[in-house]
Symmetry: C2
Amino acid sequence: MTIQTPYYLIDKAGLLRNLEIIRRVREQSGAKLLLALKCFATWSVFDLMNQYLDGTTSSSLYEVRLGREKFGGETHAYSVAYADHEIDEVVSHADKIIFNSLGQFARFADRAVGVQRGLRLNPGVSSSSFDLADPARPFSRLGEWDANRVRPFMDRIDGFMIHNNCENGDFGLFDAMLGQIEERFGDLLAQVKWVSLGGGIHFTGEGYNVDAFCARLKKFAQDYGVQVYLEPGEAAITRSTTLEVSVLDILDNGKQLAIVDASVEAHMLDLLIYRQHAKVEPDAGPHPYMVCGKSCLAGDIFGEFRFEKELAVGDRISFQDAAGYTMVKKNWFNGVKMPSIAIRELDGEVRLVRAFGYDDFAAALS
Amino acid sequence: MTIQTPYYLIDKAGLLRNLEIIRRVREQSGAKLLLALKCFATWSVFDLMNQYLDGTTSSSLYEVRLGREKFGGETHAYSVAYADHEIDEVVSHADKIIFNSLGQFARFADRAVGVQRGLRLNPGVSSSSFDLADPARPFSRLGEWDANRVRPFMDRIDGFMIHNNCENGDFGLFDAMLGQIEERFGDLLAQVKWVSLGGGIHFTGEGYNVDAFCARLKKFAQDYGVQVYLEPGEAAITRSTTLEVSVLDILDNGKQLAIVDASVEAHMLDLLIYRQHAKVEPDAGPHPYMVCGKSCLAGDIFGEFRFEKELAVGDRISFQDAAGYTMVKKNWFNGVKMPSIAIRELDGEVRLVRAFGYDDFAAALS
C-alpha cells in the first residue's frame, strides 16, 4: 500500500526490541514498568505494548483516561496540578494518584477514595543538560524538596514518585543520583509501600548495563521494602519510528537546500525547542543538503545531512527516531498537513491508522 | 455566562481598534490589506474582520481554502513549497499564487491557470532580532535573492511578495529597508502589477507614525506603478485577546509559585520557542509570583508578575495579547485540556464558540 507523505511510521519490530528489554528488566529487577503517555500515546500499538508493560502513567486527566481505556493494567495518575472539577474523574480512572505538592495532597487526598495516594519528591539533582527540562532547576515546582515538610503527612502517603532522570544513558550517573536520593529521603522511603523512579533512564540504549541497573533496583527495593516502579517514555519507543517525508523543492542559496513536506515546529517540535537536529541514516555520501521544512518559519530546519545521490523533487527522506514527544505535540502551524500515522505490523504489512484533513484543521479552531 | 477556564477570550472591541487603523491605512495609502492566517485563523470572528480587510493570505493549501471559504475577498496563496498533488486545489481557491522559488515557479506556473502568478523575493535584510524567525538569515530558503536569476522569468511574473519585517514597530527602519529593497530590485518592481510587502509591520502599535507609513506606501506604489499589498498578522489582532486561566496550586519553593490550568508549550508556544514571558496587567503590587503552567515541563513558566493581593487557588489570571501564533499552534502536550475559544461581542456578551474534550485528544492520535 502506498501512503502519501508526510506520515509517522511506527515499526512494531522496533518497539519489540525495546519491549524485550523492558520484560527483562521487569523479571530481573522485580520493578513494574509503566509507559509514560506524555512521551508517546499512539494507542493503536497499545495491543503490543501492554503485553510487555504493567500499565501507564499520566500527566493529566485525559492521559489517565486514555491509559485506563486503551492500555489497561495499572494506571497511575500524576499531574503538576489537578483542578477541583476534574479530581473525581481522575480518581475513577486511576489505581494510584500521585500529587505534585503537599498543597494538592491536602486538598484532594480525601477525595482519592479507594486508590493509593502518593507524593512527588524532588531530590534537587537531575541528569538534564537542558535548563528547560531540568526538574531540579532553581525554584522548580516539580515535587516537594523538604523532608521535614513531608513528615507530618507520612501516615497518609502510600508511595513516592521521583523523576529526575532525563535521557540518562549513564548507569553510573543513575546509580550516584539514586544514592543521593537515599541519603536525602531514605527514612521516608522506608515508610511507604512503593517508589516510582520515573522515566528518563535510557536503559534500552545500546551498551547500557542492564544487569547492573536491575541489580541496583532490586537492592533498592529490598533495602526500603518497596515495590519499585519505572515510567519509561523514550526508552520504550526509541528507534521504533520514522517521519516519512518527500522532497518538494531544491534550492541553491549558498548551500544546497531541500524543502520537504513536513515542518519541525509542527511535527517534531522538540528539535526546535531544544535547538537540535533530526537524524537521517546513513547520513553519508558526497552530497550535502540542508533539509528544511515547509512552514514559513525561517528556522524550520531538520538539519544538514549527507546523501549518496543528488536529491530531486519527489525523493523520500526518513527522519529517524521520531516517536518520542512528536505525535503528542503535533500542531496545525501554517495549516501544514499533519502527518498521517501508519504502523508496520510484525509481518511487515504497513497499515494506515489515521489521516488528517482540512476538516480537522478547521475544527481545531472555530 | 460562566465559562470554565482555560479559554482564549477574543474581544471584538479590541479587534476593532486595530481594524479601524487598518481601514485608515487602506484609505490613506491605497494599499490592500490581507489577514495573514498563519498568525491568526480563528474564523468565528471573520465576519467582523472581513469588513475591514481585503482578504487573506496563506501559507498552505488548508489555509488558502480556509481564507476562501470563511473570509472571502481576495485570497492569496503562498507556500514555501507546494506538492504536485495539491497545486490544482490551491489554485482553485486563490486569486493570486506566489511561489517561493524559481524552481516552484517553473514547476507549477503553467498549472496556475486563471490566477495571477507571483514570486517571493528575499532582500537579504530584515528587522528580526531572532535568528529563528529571520527570513534574511544565512542560506535562507525564503524567496529568491538574485535579481539576475529572476530576470528571465519576468514575462510570466505578475507580482512580487517580500516579507522581511518582523514585529517592526519602527517606521524609520521600515522606510530604510524599503529603500534597500528598491535599490536591489527596483528595475524588477517596475515591471510588475503588484507588490506585497508582507507582514510584521507593527503599524497598529501605540505611537506608530501611520501618516508617514501611508505616505511612503503611496509613493512606493506611484514610483513603480504597482498595487501595494500588506499582510498583517499580529498587527490585526494585537491586544485583542487574553488567555483566561485559574490558579490550581500555590507553592513556596524559594519563590512564591502559582500553578495555573494551562501550559506555555501547549497554549502559548512562542513564549517557549523565543524564551519570552507572558504579559499580565497591571503587573504591579506587593505580591510577586512566578506563574507556571501545569505540564510536566520544568520550564513551563509564563513569567514572574506582581499582584495586588496574595493569590489563592481558584483565582483568575488573564494573560494579555494571546491571539497571535497561539491558537494556530496549540497542541495536546501532556493531554492538558485545550483552552476553549470564546468571543466577547461588541455588545459585551461573551459567547463560547469551541470547547475541546477527551474525544478530541484521543482522535488527535490513533
